[in-house]
C-alpha cells in the first residue's frame, strides 16, 4: 500500500436497527474511532492467520 492510500480516508456505511442507533447516541463514544479500531484489529488477525498458514506449510513439509 502506498503512502497516499494510507493517508486517504473513505466513508463506509453500516446499517443498524433504529433502536441501536438511538442507544449509540446516548453514549459519548466516538463510534467512528471505535469501529475503525475494531476493523484494524480484525484485519491484523486475518493477516496473522495467513502468515500462520504459510508457517504451517513449512513446518509440515520439513517434519518439525
Amino acid at each position: 500500500m502506498n503512502e497516499k492510500n494510507q493517508k486517504k480516508s473513505v466513508t463506509i456505511s453500516v446499517r443498524v436497527p433504529a433502536w441501536l442507533k438511538s442507544e449509540m447516541e446516548k453514549t459519548d463514544i466516538n463510534w467512528s474511532e471505535y469501529i475503525r479500531k475494531v476493523i484494524e484489529d480484525r484485519i491484523k488477525l486475518e493477516r496473522a492467520k495467513k502468515i500462520w498458514a504459510e508457517i504451517e506449510d513449512i513446518v509440515n513439509s520439513e517434519g518439525f
Binding site: 488477525l45 502468515i51 500462520w52 508457517i55 513449512i58 513446518v59 520439513e62 518439525f64
Partner: protein, 137 residues
C-alpha cells in the same frame, strides 16, 4: 495474556502441551483472547530456529514469517522494564525471555501463560500471576 517462548515453540514443534498451546493461538486468531509477548521472546524463538539443522533457505523463510507473525503480538520493553527483566533474571535464575514476560505481565496486569511447569511453580511462589497452559481451557 502474555505468552513465552515455551508456548510459541510448541506452535511449531511436536512437544508436550502442544495441543493446549495451539488452542491458545486459535483463540487469539478468532479474536476471543488477546495475546502479547516481548521482543526478547521473538529473538529467542529465532535463535532456536537458527540452531536447527534445516536448509538455510527454509530457516530464512521460517524466520521471516515467524518474525512477521510475532510482530503482531510482541511488545518492545522500555529501559526500565528491560532493567527489571535483567534484575529478575539474575535473582531467580531465569532466561531473559522468561523474566521479560514476567515483568510485562506484572506491568500490564495480565496473566503470564507458560508451557513450562517448573517455571509456573517457581514464579507463582514468588507472587507472579502465572498459569500453566494446561489450566487455561
Amino acid at each position: 495474556m502474555i505468552v513465552d517462548c515455551s508456548v510459541v515453540l510448541a506452535w511449531i514443534n511436536d512437544i508436550e502441551f502442544r495441543r493446549d498451546c495451539l488452542k491458545l493461538r486459535e483463540a487469539f486468531e478468532e479474536g476471543r483472547i488477546s495475546l502479547k509477548t516481548t521482543s526478547f521472546v521473538k529473538y529467542e524463538v529465532l535463535r532456536r530456529i537458527a540452531m536447527r539443522k534445516i536448509p538455510s533457505e527454509v530457516a530464512k523463510r521460517l524466520a521471516h514469517l515467524l518474525s512477521e507473525y510475532l510482530e503482531f503480538i510482541s511488545e518492545e520493553l522500555d529501559s526500565r522494564l528491560v532493567a527489571n527483566s535483567v534484575g529478575l533474571s539474575v535473582s531467580l535464575g531465569l532466561s531473559l525471555s522468561e523474566s521479560s514476560c514476567a515483568v510485562l505481565s506484572r506491568y500490564r496486569g495480565e496473566v503470564y501463560v507458560t508451557a513450562n511447569e517448573d517455571l509456573a511453580k517457581k514464579l507463582s511462589s514468588e507472587g507472579f500471576s502465572i498459569q500453566h497452559v494446561s489450566t487455561i481451557f
